[in-house]
């Protein structure tokens, strides 16, 4: 029972984190029509920047500044490279971010080395806490809280601000946004930066849970893909629900057969695709053209 509950919590925590990752990934996919392979590398950069910054600035400032730096990296990437491929064949955007992902991972290897680091959880959330009869990691609960705050903030931003409305419109039809007189170019740059910093902050949060290694970005990218396919492109709740499904499937299958843990989400994806080809919350979008 205790193991079941702790895996359930693990799944929920992981799911919320995947939700944060997938939201940024999906916004970039929607507004730019680019599959951002570099999303995982940006996630890893967030974790590594936090590793370095924490030593100097402490935990809270690192949590704040590291995603900002990753956001700036995102802006630079968009500004120098990715914006050249909009409106071209989707293959080019795909390859461009793929190349950037490969290069960024190698840069991490050059700067921080091949070996893994483990980050200690900040003191105020170190160690376990008793929930009823179950001892559970305080840090994971803290992760869940941070992810929830982030998801709420993104939801408020998308639903309650005029800029969020423009982004949502951009996800469903970016050219129409241009036709309505909005600055599509600036919108795209900002969305890329915003999506990048979401990946960065997810990396900072995940750092103490996983050990830091150069391939951590490539490992976390696939769940984001699958979340978007399961949840449906262009839906906030799709990303959250998809994230939870993927997180839970990863952790719960450990109970049944650990080897399934990496595979389960793909089987779920195949089933979802058979029943609802656009994903659970997906609507018809321009991406299908």
């Amino acid at each position: 029972m205790a193991e079941f509950l702790s895996q359930l919590f693990n799944g929920l925590v992981l799911g919320l984190l995947f939700g944060v990752m997938a939201l940024g990934f999906m916004m970039i996919l929607g507004v730019m029509e680019v599959i951002n392979f570099a999303h995982g590398a940006l996630f890893a950069l967030g974790a590594y920047f936090a590793l370095t910054l924490q030593k100097v600035l402490g935990y809270w400032l690192a949590l704040l500044i590291s995603p900002l730096i990753v956001g700036v990296v995102g802006l630079v990437i968009e500004w120098t490279a990715v914006r050249r491929v909009y409106q071209k064949d989707p293959l080019f955007g795909l390859l461009m971010t793929f190349g950037l992902a490969m290069a960024l991972e190698e840069v991490i290897r050059i700067v921080w080395g091949k070996i893994g680091y483990s980050i200690a959880a900040p003191k105020f959330v170190a160690g376990p806490v008793a929930i009823g009869f179950l001892w559970y990691s305080k840090y994971r609960l803290f992760m869940a809280l941070l992810s929830l705050i982030l998801l709420t903030a993104v939801w408020l931003f998308l639903e309650k601000t005029p800029y969020g409305a423009i982004i949502k419109a951009g996800v469903s039809d970016s050219e129409m946004v241009l036709a309505l007189g909005k600055d599509l170019k600036r919108l795209r740059t900002l969305v890329f930066g915003f999506g990048a910093s979401l990946a960065g902050i997810a990396g900072v949060i995940a750092g103490p849970m996983w050990s830091l290694k150069p391939t951590m970005g490539t490992d976390v990218l696939m769940p984001s893909f699958v979340v978007v396919v399961i949840g449906g492109i262009g839906s906030f709740w799709g990303a959250v629900i998809g994230g939870l499904i993927v997180g839970l499937s990863k952790s719960m299958s450990v109970l049944v057969w650990p080897r399934l843990s990496d595979l389960m989400m793909y089987f779920i994806m195949a089933i979802v695709l058979l029943l609802r080809p656009r994903g659970i919350m997906g609507e018809k979008s321009l991406l299908e053209q």
Binding site: I35, Q87, D89, L94, M96, F98, T218, M222, E288
Partner: protein, 340 residues
Amino acid sequence: MKIVRYMLHPMFIIFAVFLVAPIFIMRVGGMSLAIEVMIWAIFAVGYNILLGYTGLPSFGHGLFFGTGAYLCGLIQHHLIPGTWISILGSMLGCSIIAGILGFFLARKRGIYFALLTIAFTQLFFFIAFQWDSVTGGENGLMGIERYPLSIFGLFRIPIDGVLSYYYFVYAILVASIVVLWKIVHSPLGSVLYAIKQNEVRAKYLGYNTWMYKWVSLIISGLFAGLAGALYAMLQHGAFANPIHWTRSGDVVMMVLVGGGLTNFFGPVLGAAIFIALRDIVSTLTEHWYLFYGLLIVFIILFLPEGILGYLKVGQTSRKMISVEEKWSPSLSGGASDGHP
């Protein structure tokens, strides 16, 4: 003067170059690299049916390449130890897998198609990696042999030597390129190209575009399986690594660098350049992936039509991906090319 024109055809130039190449390569070493070039050329030219001609950006074709390698080994270990049977079995197996995945994939296009191919390749990677009782897991499936070829039971030709295997792969490369050339210039090829240009229009012309996309997927899967089996025999083993998504870019880059989007033979040039570059850079620095990533960005930014496209070589037939627009409304050259 017809013979001269034939001799200057890029197909015959390629065949001639690979035919005499061992004379030079034997002196400097690197025969297995040359074999690798031919294997990847088979893979890339077949993959280009899907990418360049049908316009479906698969980013997970390592799936078929890697699975072909495993199938080759599994057939040798558990069924019949023989070269032909393991190669044909790999091709058959991969086309069946392509057919099954095609049910999910063939209704999609563009980014959504790419997204699904990436997810499926990763699914296969984890299966290959985790199912170690069958695939050998992390260690790979070892002990894949190059059995002597039996020609109608009359002759037995050994291919375990480097040179003999080179010419075996060469013969398959020649056959593959001829078959793929025929496919591209057949009515089927024209319909695939029409789907790439404008799928809706092709549908309104009465073509069952779903089925054509499905067939295109199967053709590319079949040749990827063939290349995978040859690769397994070259390495005497099959590994999960080529299925991982981080290796998906390799074949796409070969198509792109050589100019496969504008030229049928681009992928052959691309495979040669890619493998030579990888070999040279890897000996100079351990940071090949930094170079690789930046190379991709460079190619996309400054050379999107590849080398042959940039040099405007042999653009006699068709421009296959329009770099500036999503799709080009022109149907130039379509009617004269054996369109039904």
